[in-house]
Symmetry: C2
Subunit: 332 residues, 2 copies
């Protein structure tokens, strides 16, 4: 069973994968599956993954067989285990608990040759519905407090399988980065009685220098203080704290905004590796006036180094005004 | 002038390097200087760096000429500029200030062919004295609140110059990671009236499973909740909040502990890229009972991916008990 452990100084939790422990010699192997190797996410290989937890199919709904457009399966090498209790315990001044959680893979298309930026808006929208359906299901498990939905594209961004996919990890604790954002947003709200993200959107719409794209419901921004070059946020224009409570027509507009952004990044930066993450409120405070769900997209262009690790302070060589201008001008 | 910008939600500051702005096409260039290219840190090339701010020389002390063993120069491409005032200002809900700070390079040996792990204990000790002398000098500049001393070894760990060197960045603000550690350590102290690091050392010495090495003044540990495989901390055994106030003989023992650790990592992990960072108290609270200065060493074995970026939660595939056992058993 993997273990969750808490740093006694900063309170940060880590997942220690005790059962698939890596020895020193294991780190020499490049984990990326080579192009052309057997792919468990391809059409016809449905029996090579654990049984699906969700799939969208036209016609006869036969599980774990071809005919699907989007398919969600448990990760074959999960960071956390779905079975068992939390088993919280102390050990002197240290705290640990069982590594209980869900770790699932959202296969975005049966076609191995396509990247996420190559999907149609309708196909992309289906992936967003799959995110939503999985969140709604996992919320019912009272052991979980948060679901992190994310995508790693390219080996440099941590992808170990080439076939385009996203992942989700449901956690028994609210992770540090989410707590920090929630706390900052709540403090701002307590002070001003306005959502800080709503205020950012208003200011950016007046200023325009950091706006990359806008449609009827979504705005795409280069944030004022980005950690990384070409960091990009996609936010609903109207206040909303829960991704999974969007109106039906909003998922189509979100697909349009996300796809436009991924295509602009692909063109401007020659198909870079990237990560994206869905930031939303924890399960126990989903409907609130202070937090504003959004996606953050990080192209992998620079490396973390000692200064960043030691200080949590990032050196970004591309001002967001420049990044936004480049991306605005790219046609997709 | 580079700019410091503050994220309005989390309060995290970033350095935006506005003057050497990178355009999209700049990211395709590998910044590592190829082996055998001209090296400004080599013996005889002293006029190819900005004038030195410190050097240790035997005999005739002629600056910016050969004869040195350790040499400190301003970074030719600094992330921050040494001249000017802080110029704090707001822009709607955003905050910014001038990117004022010092960015220096500590060239650890004139010999291009040697890595830091190849230095003798006496040579390593000289590098530590250079760290100390620069901290004592920069503390006198009232604009600065912190000095981050760090090393990037290998291109994957962010090194852009091959010749072995460390860096320091003096900052007008206390960085986020340091604030978090100080806050956690102070809360523990307020609760228990003991330093949390002293308590960790006591518990680890009794437990032994995560102890890698010990000498008269220093202990080397795999921390209980490491973010990364083979993350290693080097701490003074007795309470001490200020690195630069060590007793004279302690620098020799620190050189022994650091060098032993770097050599063990080099052997166990086939000369991995790595970062190390000196963690110490901010300038305005240097002598305190709650914080305990130390070095953290992070071999670059895994990649940050979407889950880590979004959650601040790390998946570590090597339990620290395993890592410590491997490193204890490596002879150096």
């Amino acid at each position: 069973m993997p273990e969750l452990r808490r740093d006694p100084i900063t309170g940060r939790w880590v997942i220690i994968a005790t059962e698939r422990a890596k020895r020193p010699s294991d780190f020499k192997i490049d984990p990326t599956v080579p192009h052309g190797a057997f792919c468990p996410f391809c059409y016809g290989n449905e029996d090579k993954t654990p049984p699906e937890v969700l799939a969208y199919r036209a016609g006869d709904p036969q599980p774990d067989a071809p005919g699907w457009s989007v398919r969600v399966v448990p990760n074959k090498f999960p960071a956390l285990m779905i079975e068992g209790g939390l088993g919280r315990e102390g050990e002197g001044l240290y705290d640990r608990m069982n590594g209980v959680g869900a770790h699932e893979v959202i296969v975005e298309t049966p076609d191995h040759a396509r990247q996420m930026a190559d999907l149609s808006e309708r196909e992309f929208e289906s992936v967003l519905w799959a995110y939503r359906d999985r969140i709604l299901d996992l919320k019912r498990d009272t052991r979980f407090r948060y679901v992190m939905i994310f995508k790693n594209h390219g080996a440099a961004a941590g992808a170990s399988v080439e076939h385009t996919h996203s992942q989700l990890i449901a956690l028994p604790i609210v992770p540090k980065t989410v707590l920090e954002e929630m706390k900052g947003a709540l403090e701002y709200y307590n002070h001003k009685e306005r959502c800080v993200y709503c205020d950012i959107i208003r200011q950016e719409q007046q200023d325009c220098r950091r706006v990359i794209y806008e449609n009827g419901s979504f705005i795409v921004l280069a944030p004022f203080a980005p950690l990384f070059p070409f960091e990009t946020w996609v936010l609903p224009r109207a206040h909303d704290s829960a991704f999974e409570d969007c109106q039906r027509e909003e998922y189509a507009l979100l697909a349009n905004a996300m796809l436009t952004t991924l295509r602009k990044l692909k063109t401007a930066l020659s198909a870079p590796p990237y990560n994206f993450m869905l930031h939303m409120s924890p399960f126990n405070e989903q409907d609130n006036p202070h937090y504003h769900w959004h996606f953050e997209i990080l192209p992998t262009l620079t490396k973390m180094a000692g200064f960043e690790w030691g200080s949590g302070f990032y050196i970004n060589p591309t001002p967001p005004e420049e990044a936004a201008r480049f991306l605005r001008e790219v046609n997709t």
